[in-house]
């Protein structure tokens, strides 16, 4: 809670420090002074900074983010569909990325030390990890969209008038989903892979692994023990890492013109649409706090030694 409070406060003042007047940019020229004042009042920009701040925080408490300058609509109405769009690429992307990354890390970690699998795996993972997400996105666009022409690389596709859930449950949406989702997965795999690998490498020399091997179980089963124990550090890292990953997703959303919350955040900042930007940051902070909570809870499930009092 404290974190969320501090973030929203900082965000509020940061946007106020920027020495520009949104009305200049967003309001039609030639508007009368009275009309401008009326607009400022509606946007909550009148009164001293403290009055504005208190009004804003008071609104937050009841879930009111104010109105967007740009869309001239409540922030919630603007952001909610964007959040849903982001979740479509973020949640499956992160889950699949973690799953694939951890599996590959398991394989690379269990491979013979110094062998081709280990060397190759680490090399490729490090290269991808060092690649900025927009390069991954552009490479995917270049190959599958421009060169092969298999998949669209722009936007979410035409809804064809569908609304509600049906907006997402159609073929057109799915083919638009593939490339950005793929980019998120690829972007997220290497860190999972490397972390899982180092965990497995560490665990494979532990005493209990030797005893498991002596029990005469299959090699896969021995590896499973090492992997099961390596999951613990992976989970502690995974959820907080979502914060960093969100930065990567922002970029991917822009590359693929995916109308998600990350892209909206960047647009809002350039448009000086403070309420939208503040709300987007606020929601990201909430997500990160929730992610940390989820990490703690998952860890307690995975490691019997962790007890919450």
């Amino acid at each position: 809670m404290l974190v969320v409070f501090i973030v929203s406060t900082i965000m509020f003042f940061m946007f106020r420090i920027v020495p520009s007047d949104p009305t200049v940019m967003l309001v039609e020229r030639g508007i009368s002074e009275e009309a401008r004042q009326a607009l400022l009042e509606r946007w909550g920009l009148t009164g001293s900074l403290w009055e504005q701040y208190l009004r804003y925080m008071g609104g937050l408490l009841v879930g009111d983010f104010g109105n967007s300058f740009f869309y001239r609509a409540p922030v919630w109405d603007v952001l909610l569909p964007r959040i849903v769009n982001t979740l479509w690429i973020a949640v499956p992307g992160l889950l699949l990325g973690a799953l694939i990354g951890a599996t590959l890390g398991m394989v690379v970690g269990w491979a013979r030390r110094g062998g081709a699998v280990e060397r190759g795996g680490i090399l490729i993972a490090t290269i991808i990890r060092g690649t900025p997400s927009f390069i991954i996105g552009i490479a995917l666009l270049a190959v599958f969209s421009s060169w092969l022409g298999w998949l669209p690389g722009f936007g979410m596709g035409d809804s064809g008038g569908a609304t509600g859930v049906m907006r997402y449950l159609n073929f057109n949406f799915f083919i638009h989903l593939i490339l950005p989702l793929l980019a998120v997965i690829i972007y997220f795999i290497p860190e999972n892979l490397l972390l899982m690998r180092s965990g497995v490498v560490e665990n494979r020399t532990e005493d209990y692994i030797e005893l498991v091997r002596a029990k005469g179980v299959s090699d896969q089963r021995v590896a499973w023990h090492a992997g099961r124990n390596s999951l613990l550090p992976l989970i502690t890292w995974l959820f907080p890492a979502l914060a960093e990953t969100i930065a990567g997703i922002v970029v991917i959303e822009i590359v693929f013109s995916w109308p998600g919350i990350g892209r909206e955040l960047v647009l809002a900042v350039t448009r000086q649409d403070y309420p939208v930007a503040q709300a987007a940051f606020f929601l990201l902070a909430v997500m990160i706090v929730l992610a940390n909570l989820a990490a703690d809870l998952t860890y307690g499930k995975l490691d019997p030694r962790v007890v919450y009092k």
Binding site: G216, V217, P304
Partner: protein
């Protein structure tokens, strides 16, 4: 599985015979960055069915390497030669399928349970069940009930099967490891320093438990330790290892009461004794020097330790010259009477 089938499973396991282990010219070389390291330099010994062999020696003499070599648990960077015969069948030449069958079914391992021998995130009971179900086609419930009887056998309350290793004390973990080693009633038990990390009272409890189990099940066993007292109490025969070799072996009474090899004498002296009544406390004689460098086999045997507290030994009986292996003494017959050992005054 019904009661009849379950008791059939138990009967089948309980009718397993102890194994005759015969190790011939076992050599283990670790490949290190500094060249080959000769951890075990061609040793031979037998464990007769139902008997207990004590394998003693100080840290680094190759005891644990021998144990791991018997189960083929050594890292890939090592090379093992020689023959390990289980009732005449060579373990070292086996394919991985047969090896899996041998592990736990015929040779079970008791490691230092107090440390990290059990998987920390799996329930202890499930780890025992895993060892059973890896080899026997029985359902989970049957394996669990067998785990319960094993826990009872080692003196642990059966409800603790549901707990995790960190909820166990060191002694309890050791008992759990022993229970697991008995899960398939393997014909040969390898106990690798089962009590080293425990306090003396717990050591005694564990060893008497192990003796009871041994009286009940008559397994062949190798007990690896650096504690001569444990050997005296628990073993039928003893093999003394030094620098990757067995320097003396034979029945416990003979080797311990009348040690012949200078190293055995040193080991004997280094073990504290309770003074008799009205007797002064006997001096504790440590073994001077350190192990020879095993990167080159026996190039440095000239540096084998002397016995400063027994000058007559040091003076007369320096070990063999460089380049030769130390002599081996079996029973009371000195195989290579390269030197004379004067036990007077020791």
């Amino acid at each position: 599985m019904d009661e009849a089938a379950e008791s059939d499973f138990d009967r089948r396991l309980n009718s397993k015979q102890p194994i005759h282990l015969s190790v011939k010219e076992l050599k283990v070389v670790y490949h290190t960055n500094f060249g080959p390291f000769h951890a075990v330099a061609g040793i031979s010994f037998d464990v007769r069915p139902g008997s207990v062999l004590g394998l003693v020696g100080e840290s680094g003499c190759g005891k644990s390497t021998v144990i791991k070599a018997l189960l083929r648990l050594l890292p890939e960077s090592s090379r093992t030669e020689g023959r390990v015969l289980l009732d005449g069948i060579d373990v070292l030449g086996m394919d991985s399928r047969s090896l899996r069958h041998v592990r736990w079914n015929q040779i079970a391992l008791i490691t230092q349970g107090a440390m990290n021998a059990l998987d920390p995130v799996i329930r202890v009971g499930d780890q025992i069940v895993e060892s059973i179900r890896a080899h026997e086609d029985v359902d989970y419930a049957t394996a669990w009930r067998r785990s319960e009887s094993l826990f009872a056998l080692v003196g642990l309350p059966t409800q603790r099967l549901r707990e995790f290793p960190h909820q166990f004390s060191g002694g309890m973990k050791q008992r759990a490891v022993i229970a697991m080693a008995l899960s398939l009633n393997a014909g040969l038990l390898l106990a690798d320093e089962p009590t080293t990390a425990l306090d003396p009272i717990m050591q005694d409890q564990i060893m008497s438990r192990l003796r009871k189990v041994q009286d009940l099940l008559h397994r062949s066993m190798i007990l690896v330790t650096h504690d001569i007292g444990l050997v005296a109490e628990n073993c039928d025969e003893v093999a003394v290892m030094y620098a990757g070799q067995i320097v003396e072996k034979g029945p416990v009474v003979e080797v311990l009461v009348r040690p012949r090899h200078p190293y055995t004498i040193g080991l004997h002296n280094a073990f504290p004794r309770m003074p008799e009544e009205n007797e002064e406390r006997p001096p504790l004689i440590s073994i001077a020097g350190s192990l020879p460098n095993l990167l080159e086999p026996f190039a440095n045997v000239g540096e084998l330790r002397l016995f400063p507290e027994a000058p007559q030994l040091a003076h007369e009986h320096t070990f063999v010259a460089a380049g030769e292996a130390p002599p081996v003494i079996v029973g009371n017959d000195c195989l290579e009477p390269a030197h004379h050992v004067d036990t007077q005054g020791l």
